[in-house]
């Protein structure tokens, strides 16, 4: 439903810096399907918020095209630029942007009141719609409350109500939960999911929090340097990252460089600097290619080393030594040194091994993700 094609946005650098324009969004394209919650995920400065603001109409892109359904919102080629106020999109800001001089009801009613006279619904209809949307976000009891007297979570819901009262075709959410405390944030995940299901909202969601992205999205686009690195359903992104960057950003992964030795029906044998690995993967890689293997800490098991170890290590069973451990409630994280590197292992809280105990690190075959080498794009390029 939303189509973004080859979007480019540059900014003028600070006056003191003598350099070219700073490229914030670099030829980005994406498609959002009706009913989807599409998340732009990435570290700060990756261009995710700029992309969202371009869609909203708050920034003017330098080049590219943005279309919603069959309506062209922006096109550098066709010289189309619909102002933000006429795009009819809903937006929720990170800071909520609640107007302090208006109460809850008036904040929500504002979008209906500024409609041109011929489009504006009657006073009665406006009231009904405001009351309905306030009920949806469960603020109907607080309609006459001063907006500044609301708690953080309530302000969040008010911002949502204000964005929804127009029944926009597309809802834009710019890190809407990042100002809430952890507990409230998790509550809001489910609240937002419920609203999305009940109202059938299509949305573009921006966040830097990978957990939030995984929890809420239909699809996630991981962004780096103004481009999308990988798009997919949360589980795909999590389990089959296609680049070192995505693997690293999505969760604390153990990233191990290696070379493919042989391949047997989807099971690859790899040689790495610290031992051999056997990896099951659907990814197609040639023998002799260099690859990266990502193993999530929760897929790494550690156990006591047998008294007598065979010299050398077996594939996927490496000898090591516990260096640090941290008790995290549900889990115990261990940092294990293996040869020249360290491996993080996340164990359930029954397993807790003090440093410096020799251990055997076991990688499960199916838990690896294999990432083909990245000659095309070196990390940190600009």
């Amino acid at each position: 439903m939303l189509e973004v094609r080859e979007l480019v946005k540059t900014f003028r650098p600070a006056r003191s810096e003598k350099r070219d324009r700073v490229v914030a969004v670099d030829g980005l394209s994406l498609d959002v399907e009706r009913g989807e919650l599409f998340t732009l995920l990435g570290p700060s400065g990756c261009g995710k918020t700029t992309t969202l603001r371009c869609i909203a109409g708050l920034e003017t892109p330098d080049a590219g095209e943005i279309a919603l359904g069959d309506r062209l919102l922006f096109s550098s080629e066709k010289r189309v630029r619909v102002p933000a106020s006429e795009r009819g999109l809903g937006m929720v800001f990170q800071s909520y942007a609640i107007w302090p001089h208006l109460n809850v009801y008036k904040n929500t009613a504002f979008p209906l009141e500024v409609l041109p006279r011929r489009k504006r619904p009657s006073r009665k209809v406006r009231r009904e719609r405001v009351e309905r949307v306030l009920a949806v976000v469960r603020l109907d009891q607080l309609a006459s409350r001063r907006a500044t007297d609301l708690s953080g979570g309530q302000q969040q819901r008010l911002a949502l109500a204000r964005a929804l009262v127009m029944e926009p075709a597309l809802l834009l959410l710019d890190e809407p939960l990042s100002n809430l405390d952890a507990k409230l944030r998790e509550e809001m995940w489910f609240e937002l999911k419920r609203l999305r299901r009940e109202l059938g909202i299509t949305g573009v969601y921006v966040t830097h929090d990978q957990l939030e992205a995984l929890a809420m999205s239909s699809r996630v686009a991981v962004m780096r340097d103004g481009r999308i690195d990988q798009v997919g359903r949360p589980r795909e992104i999590y389990e089959a990252p296609r680049s070192r960057f995505v693997a690293d950003f999505i969760g604390a992964s153990n990233l191990i460089d290696g070379v493919v030795e042989s391949c047997d029906h989807g099971v690859y044998s790899l040689r790495t600097a610290d031992g051999d690995l056997r990896v099951q993967s659907a990814v197609d890689v040639e023998v002799g290619a260099s690859v990266v293997v990502a193993a999530r800490p929760e897929h790494v098991e550690i156990g006591p080393a047998p008294a007598q170890t065979a010299n050398g290590s077996l594939p996927n069973r490496w000898p090591g030594r516990v260096e640090e451990r941290a008790f995290l409630g549900e889990w115990v994280d261990h940092v294990v040194s293996v040869g020249s590197r360290t491996i993080r292992a996340r164990c359930n809280s029954k397993i807790s091994i003090p440093a410096p105990t020799p251990v055997i690190v076991t990688f499960r075959e199916e838990a690896f993700s294999l990432i083909p080498g990245e000659e095309a794009r070196a990390p940190g390029h600009s």
Partner: protein, 576 residues
Amino acid sequence: MTHGSAAVAGERFHRSERWRRLLSGRNLVLAVVAGVIAYLALVPIGFLLWQTFVRNGHLTVASFTEAYSTVGLGELVLNSLTFALGSTVLATAVGTGLAYMVVRTNVPCKPLIFVGALAPLIIPGILHTIAWIFLASPQIGIFNQHVIEPAAGGRAFNVFSLPGMIVVEGVHLVPLVFLLMAASFRSTDPALEVAAVTSGASLRSVFFRITLPLARPALYAAILITVVRGLDAFEVPALLGLPNRTYVFTSRIWGALNVLPPDYGQAGAYAMSLLVLTSIGVFWYSRLAKPAGSYQTVTSKGFRPRPLPLGAWRLPALALIFLYLAITVIAPVLVLAYASTQAFYSPPSSYTLSHMSLDTYRTVIHDDLVVHALENTVIVGLGAATAVMLLTGIASWLVIRTSLPGRWLIDNLAFLPLTIPGLVLGVALLTIYLRVSLPIYGTLWILFIAYLTRYLPYGMRYSSASMFQIARELEETAQMSGAGWWQTFRRIVLPLMLPGFIAGWIYIVVVSTRELASSVLLYSPGKEVLPIVIWEQYRNGQLTELSALGIMMIGALVVLVALAYKLGATIGLREG
């Protein structure tokens, strides 16, 4: 697409897109505002330059040579600087001391001291000066008769002298320093001082080695703004300097225009020289006033300063402060109140004190000239305040919110009049509108233009301060909600700016009510404002009438300021 080509395409597209956007209705409003501000700021200075350096179509410095052949430039500069720097030293020392006492120590009666320290802001300069003539003139001064002469064996303190001028001006500038320094002391984390105390420093060395250096940016700013004000000052040099021929720039300008025929070239030459001096000060000040990263320890975090215990010095300090306030605030108002009850002014004696009446007030209230001047004052003051705030409201939006090219220029232009002393502005506007055949000279419009120009920088400061407080998202949300530019401005921006807007408006009404320096050259018969009436009454020797009028003015201003304070205008009365 590579990064390089994206950037190039971006640059090209930006240029064409920018021009298309420039022609919207919104930008027409902005262009008008920018045009008015540029006109107000640039035309007076431009005209003054032309007036001074061009004679019969030729570039010349004749005006300068004539101006400085009658009186030595050296002496004039020396007098002006001595006067400005002297009053600055006095104001800075007293103002900083008072601010430190109120903010950082446990001296009692803080609210009272606070009000007392700021009270001179309300008293118009001309009344303040006249009150000091009543108090310290060698012939009729009450202090001289009752305190100084008995103590000094018959020698009197002469207020009509350079030291006298310095004292009177310095005392009038104290509130300015007090405000700046109090704000600075209040925003400095006392933990920085506590850290010094725990390192074993004595209170004395804490003050001089920690507190003052931390407040240094504010201190420098206070010093510069006070020096500029000292150079600007007209009332004190005119009333106290002229009788004994102690000339500074402002009184010279006045002198050159107060002869027949007025010598505009000479006045322009003096005005240009003064403008150069004040510009240096303001330029320096504006560089200091920018937030300095190196002093980020001075935060606005919420903390309660722990007052410094004065111990045994608590009551003596209070007594000293009260003595100071009694002499500099209460005595001037009391002597005006006393004068207003007399038929003819003479120093208080048992005879005069038993013959007090309110007859003078009756005369003043029924004086057509006064009634007319009050009307004019209200019209011009309210008009100028409203116009300034509307202009700067839109201008500050333009500067802070848009990315239009040249917006920084508008910002600087709006602050430019800060460099123009009131009297110099008067000279410039006089020369312009005497030549231009618009019906402006001889009407209230010329005063309106003068005030508009003079208070533009203050309005800009209030407006941009409140504009900065409005998060950008509040406007963007309105846009996303479907509101156009004007709807967003009217329904979101204006209501949110309102407190700062009203504070600025009241401030301008208050200061324009006391404005003499820029009015004194521009008024014409029938178009007087109240300070002009007082000025004329003084020159005619109507001392009791002017006292009655002055007391009523002070009363009205007190009400206005109290109103501003009530409105929660915390940024009100930033500077006098």
